[in-house]
């Protein structure tokens, strides 16, 4: 009976009057999508295709591009003395700051996941640094903090430590960027908080009855159950960290100094494109970055089944 009805539906849909109405509905839908389509094609799809084409050209921005085949890619891996250092700096930043920010975010979320007076305000305060985000103002503040005569060294001096000029030394400058990232833990923290609240309280009650201490509870109940969120936060942060630009640009005044130790990949790409008039090469750098991010994201998903909790398993 229900099968007949569904066949009837199909027949009715195919009737001429219905088709006209359907087309009209589609037309309205597409019309409504016009702003998005203009944005998608104008700002995303066409520029992406254009940048792929430009990555195979010698393009100075000031004169029309000239086709050079895979020369840009060949030079990148076999001659560019700044490519590998910039990739190394970026990889260091990503692989140190993302786990650090994740641990900090989780620790703060666990700390704030309790019922007490004023907890809402406290949570907001901890989220504040992320509201300011990767802004220029924060990066400038960071530069002042880690200056030779900055606040960090002032505090160190109270303990008799003569702090270095953090931003002038290639050993310490990248760490200031890592700390800046870790300090902006607000967004993953909020997501962790939401996840912590989803964990059924009866699991904790059962654990308590069994005499588990807080550390055991955290590692056997809390952490396993929120691994999907850990996974989400790590992947999202990894993607955005590879694309980080503003902190390095501001802290090094757009140069990647000292000794290219803050030369983030995107900063190098920017210098090549706009500073050195090699926009074709910059486009090639952008596509290699895309491949790196896509590859690492795929790797993360491939390993997920070994450590991410799946309730359906």
């Amino acid at each position: 009976m229900s099968q007949q009805a569904s066949v009837g539906e199909v027949v009715r849909v195919a009737s001429p009057a219905r088709t006209v109405r359907q087309r009209s509905a589609n037309g309205a839908a597409y019309t409504m999508l016009v702003p998005w389509l203009v944005g998608f094609f104008g700002l995303t799809a066409i520029p992406m295709v254009a940048s792929l084409y430009l990555s195979f050209t010698d393009y100075s921005l000031l004169a029309p591009p000239e086709w050079v085949g895979a020369d840009n890619y060949a030079y990148m891996f076999n001659g560019d003395y700044r490519f590998w250092p910039s990739l190394t700096v970026t990889a260091f930043y990503v692989f140190v700051s993302v786990p650090l920010a994740t641990v900090v975010a989780l620790a703060v979320a666990v700390g704030l996941n309790r019922k007490m007076r004023g907890i809402g305000i406290l949570r907001s305060v901890y989220y504040l640094p992320s509201l300011l985000g990767g802004s220029v103002a924060i990066a400038i503040m960071w530069r002042e903090l880690f200056d030779k005569n900055g606040l960090v060294n002032l505090v160190l001096s109270w303990f008799g430590i003569d702090g270095p000029a953090w931003l002038a030394l290639p050993q310490t400058a990248p760490w200031t960027l890592v700390f800046l990232h870790a300090w902006q833990f607000g967004a993953p923290m909020v997501i962790f908080l939401a996840a912590l609240k989803q964990i059924p309280s009866d699991l904790y009650e059962a654990a308590e009855l069994d005499g588990a201490n807080r550390v055991q509870v955290f590692f056997t109940i809390t952490l396993p159950l929120i691994t999907p969120i850990v996974f989400f936060n790590v992947v999202m942060q990894m993607i955005t960290s590879f694309q980080a630009f503003t902190p390095a640009f501001v802290i090094s005044n757009g140069t990647g100094a000292p000794l290219d130790s803050t030369l983030f990949y995107t900063l190098y790409l920017y210098i090549e494109g706009f500073g050195n008039f090699r926009m074709g090469y910059a486009a090639a750098l952008a596509w290699v970055l895309l491949a790196i991010i896509a590859g690492l994201t795929a790797l993360a998903f491939a390993t997920a089944r070994f450590w991410v909790f799946n309730p359906d398993d």
Binding site: A28, L61, A168, T255, G275
Partner: protein, 435 residues
């Protein structure tokens, strides 16, 4: 007439919205094509932008033409300009400097101005240093905005006098510079805290240029190749490596990142610093209570001649795509030759290129003490000045702004990451690729 139903409303409304957005996107270009006055783009820091805009405004008022002034800071300027040029929407007039002017000229984006120079733009009273600076590839393109000397070797006179050095001769030699540096380092470090004689200038392209010119060659040849040899660069890097090792030049771990405020003079850890040009003295002096002065880059040896570089630091050009080139040329004539413009701009572009104008302003009594010094150093250096060859396209990564290779290698040498011969080989192989 039927009433519009909800779906039709949404459909037409959506189309109208989409069309409106497109019109919004295309609108400025359409408006631009109809001629919205003369667009003029430049960069400047602090009050320079206001001062330059004031000069433009003075001209707009006098001539009755409309000017759309687009002043911005240095970092934001180049992205915007390159994008405008790439989009066929270049400003009618825009400012350029040594590291990029050849790039723009070589790619046909700048209008040759041979037919304006000497007619619409009066060059009759210009100093030779200004007249020499308008060429690229034998063609005239650039209108110089002012004169300075490059580089500026700035010293803290108060500190020097404090340790008994009362006078620096303008025709001193490199050996004397090194010697005085050592003397200062020793005197300043007497209280136990290590200080130095001079900032590490090994990464400064303008100081390197002065060094190779003191040896009788230019930074680049007329053919756009490096004008100096590997041996010259080895000698250069060795000079600074030795100076750092001896505590004469600031050690790499004692350096700081930043602008004038990070220099040895301002931090009180050295008595010699450098700025790209002598007009940089203003920035230094505003941060120091001490009396700061210039001395030229030293002669190479006792039997070498004194060679100075009096040059513009900024130029303005007319876009090849401008449809108001005559008006643009007239504006440029005003900017560089009219006392009203010079008064409005102050020292921000250097001393005026016109000899009589420079004298007139200098004698007007309107200049501050620092500005007077900058005017005087130009006047004093002019007889010794020899023109440079404009840096060729592709020179930016080697000796341009930001961290050019010359500076990166100096840092790598300082931090013992590379040996000097290997660094020099790398510089020359990159030059082969870029030039």
């Amino acid at each position: 007439m039927t009433r519009m139903n909800k779906r039709q409303f949404l459909k037409y409304g959506g189309t109208a919205l989409g069309a409106g957005m497109l019109a919004g996107v295309l609108g400025p270009i359409g408006a631009r094509a109809q001629g919205a006055g003369l667009t003029v783009a430049w960069w400047g820091e602090g009050d320079q932008n206001k001062r330059t805009a004031d000069a433009m405004q003075a001209y707009a008022k006098a001539s009755g033409i409309t000017i759309d002034p687009q002043g911005t800071n240095f970092n934001g300027y180049w992205d915007r300009l390159a994008t405008q040029v790439a989009g066929g929407n270049a400003p009618d007039v825009f400012q350029v400097f040594l590291a990029t002017m050849a790039e723009y000229a070589a790619r046909g984006t700048i209008e040759p101005i041979g037919n304006y120079l000497g007619s619409v733009i009066d060059t009759s009273d210009w100093a030779p240093a200004a007249r020499d600076s308008v060429y690229f590839g034998g063609e005239q393109y650039f209108v110089p905005l002012g004169l300075s000397t490059q580089p500026a070797i700035i010293y803290d006179k108060t500190v020097l006098e404090g340790i008994g050095i009362t006078e620096l001769k303008p025709d001193w030699t490199l050996a004397e510079f090194r010697e005085i540096g050592a003397e200062i380092a020793e005197a300043l470090s007497a209280d136990g805290e290590q200080k130095f004689g001079m900032d590490d200038m090994g990464g400064s392209q303008t100081v390197l240029e002065a060094f190779v010119r003191s040896k009788g060659v230019n930074m680049f040849t007329d053919e756009g190749q490096l004008g100096f040899s590997k041996d010259d660069l080895i000698e250069w890097y060795e000079f600074w490596d030795e100076a750092r090792a001896a505590g004469v030049a600031v050690a790499p771990e004692a350096r700081q990142q930043g602008g004038f405020e990070a220099t040895g003079i301002i931090r009180g850890v050295a008595a010699f610093s450098t700025a790209a040009s002598t007009k940089g003295l203003q920035g230094f002096q505003s941060l120091s209570q001490n009396q700061l002065e210039f001395n030229p880059w030293p002669r190479y040896a006792a039997d070498s001649e004194r060679i100075e570089l009096v040059t513009p630091v900024e130029w303005m050009v007319i876009s090849a795509t401008s449809d108001q080139k005559d008006e643009a040329a007239a504006l440029l004539n005003f900017i560089v030759n009219d006392p009203a413009s010079i008064t409005a701009m102050g020292i921000s572009k250097g001393a005026p290129v016109g000899n009589a104008l420079r004298k007139q302003i200098l004698e007007s009594g309107e200049l501050s003490e620092t500005e007077t010094k900058i005017y005087n150093v130009v006047e004093e250096a002019l007889p010794y000045s020899k023109p440079r060859v404009i840096y060729p396209p592709g020179s930016g990564p080697l000796v341009g702004p930001g961290t050019p290779l010359i500076a990166l290698l100096n840092d790598q040498i300082a931090f013992k990451q590379i040996a000097i011969p290997a660094a020099v080989d790398r510089f020359f192989s990159e030059a082969d690729r870029n030039l």
